[in-house]
């Protein structure tokens, strides 16, 4: 079955086609073709009729991102009591990929509701290190889920920590989870992820020490120059605070619609370069091999080699893409059934 057929089925609301297309995008295959055929201004058709709201949940290892995600799903579904009923929700859950074997144990959906519900879609994503706690091509996958018509898209980052701020560019709302006993108040003075948070959750509020952490965070935020993000004490175990968190979360402005998308453009350019580079490398492109050789032998400095590489990859436009297309077989360029 070709991606063209998949797209037709996708437009008819076929869940398996969505799943398969997500896999293609996750691997960076046919991304331009698929994304180019999506509705540029999708509206949530499965519930609210508004554009999708994309929310990231980030925070350290074991702070309860998956458990809270699970509770938020329950709260927005018709059976839930915590919010506007019947929002459809998709989850992209990132878990780390082994730097040694490339394998991954993806254990996030284990903590989320498992009974089949047509308004809930959960995909686990293996995430290489050094990517800012996000799986590759996450922005593409978000666009696909939007086009399918989900009202709420929850992105769970890898259990991360200080400095994983890149998620802010991709989503409307960043929720940072903290937990009791995470360190003294100096930890909150450090720059990084606390600065990009739109909402702060002191999670595991049923444990002792939650009030203390909340007080520390609040006092630190009070010193800041910008409007302090709201702080919630939440417990996925008892359900305390979930409804309040959800209300605020759904009332946040859709930041992605407001920004000028310049960052999107940069990201697209970066993705294009990455794709061209890996193609050239896989194809053992002679020019690239030569360049790498000269750099490894020390004939070029790293900076010289990098700008040489940019020039080389820029030249590959057109022919490179077209060659790749025909190499993919007859189904790759010609729409078929």
């Amino acid at each position: 079955m070709s991606w063209v057929t998949l797209l037709e089925r996708f437009r008819r609301g076929d869940r398996l086609a969505l799943s398969r297309l997500l896999s293609l995008l996750a691997r960076g295959e046919r991304s331009d073709e698929i994304l180019g055929r999506l509705d540029p201004t999708p509206r949530g058709t499965r519930g609210s009729g508004s554009p999708a709201r994309v929310v990231a949940l980030t925070g350290g290892v074991g702070v309860g991102k998956s458990s809270l995600t699970g509770k938020l799903i329950e709260a927005v579904r018709p059976a839930g009591t915590g919010g506007p009923p019947g929002l459809s929700v998709a989850v992209l859950a990132c878990d780390p990929q082994s730097p040694l074997s490339g394998g991954a144990l993806l254990g996030d959906r284990f903590r989320m509701p498992s009974q089949p519900d047509d308004g809930v879609f959960i995909r686990s994503l293996a995430t290489p290190g050094g990517q800012g706690a996000l799986a590759e091509h996450l922005d593409h996958m978000i666009r696909l889920l939007e086009a399918f018509g989900f009202d709420l898209i929850l992105v769970e980052t890898v259990g991360a920590g200080q400095g994983d701020t890149s998620v802010r560019d991709l989503v409307d709302v960043v929720v940072l989870l903290l937990q009791p006993e995470t360190g003294d108040d100096l930890q909150w003075e450090k720059a990084g992820v606390l600065e990009v948070a739109d909402l702060i959750v002191v999670h595991k509020a049923d444990l002792p020490g939650a009030a203390n952490v909340e007080a520390q965070v609040r006092s630190m935020l009070a010193l800041g120059g910008r409007d302090a993000p709201p702080v919630f004490r939440v417990s996925a175990r008892t359900g305390a605070g979930i409804a309040e968190l959800l209300d605020t979360l759904l009332a946040q402005p859709l930041r992605r619609k407001e920004c000028d998308r310049a960052d999107d453009l940069l990201r697209l350019a970066r993705d294009t370069l990455t794709t061209r580079f890996s193609r050239a490398r896989t194809a053992q492109d002679a020019e690239l091999q030569g360049l790498l050789g000269r750099w490894q032998r020390g004939e070029l400095s790293a900076a010289q080699a990098a700008s040489e590489l940019l020039r080389l990859l820029a030249q590959q436009q057109g022919s490179g893409v077209r060659d790749q297309g025909s190499a993919g077989g007859p189904s790759s360029l010609t729409p078929d059934s």
Binding site: M1, L6, S101, S114, Q115, P116, R123
Partner: protein, 158 residues
């Protein structure tokens, strides 16, 4: 259903596309009321270390939940672990639901305590392999690596 996984693996391997770009994605789940998850966690770890993407769906899953996880995760394989004795009820149910959902291409493995007499029946129903206690982990890894795309060579590779 004819056996899709003959004893020697070279046949089925050779008709697979040579462009397989990735290791298998495998959903592992405990179906039914059975709280023994040590074995499935050991298998999960072994597959992870062999470079596979393992989605651990965990304990007390219904057949419906397992099939939904397989669909949403676009998995190539699903591994079911049962130590409860309910395998002749639950495994056929999973197989039927996979077919109903249009997921015939997904391969099914079974592990746990399965009496020898039941193994041929499970294989006849469409289970690819039954890996009981004492199976060397490399044997499971090798089997999956020889059949990375589950039961189907016709999957869309883009």
């Amino acid at each position: 259903m004819p056996a899709r996984f003959p004893g020697t693996t070279t046949d089925s391997h050779s008709r697979r596309p040579m462009t397989v770009p990735r290791p298998p994605r495998v959903v592992l789940a405990k179906v039914g009321l059975d709280g023994h998850d040590r074995g499935i966690k050991v298998v999960a770890r072994a597959l992870r270390d062999a470079g596979m993407e393992v989605i651990y769906a965990g304990l007390w899953q219904t057949p419906e939940a397992v099939v939904r996880a397989v669909a949403d995760e676009d998995a190539d394989w699903v591994g079911l672990s049962l130590l409860s004795g309910a395998h002749m009820t639950l495994v056929p149910r999973v197989l039927q639901l996979l077919r109903d959902a249009g997921l015939d291409h997904v391969g099914v493995l079974v592990g746990g305590i399965i009496p020898e007499d039941d193994v041929p029946q499970l294989l006849a129903l469409g289970v690819a392999r039954v890996f009981g206690p004492g199976t060397p982990l490399p044997e499971i890894v090798a089997f999956l690596n020889q059949h990375p795309l589950g039961g189907d060579a016709e999957r869309c590779l883009g």
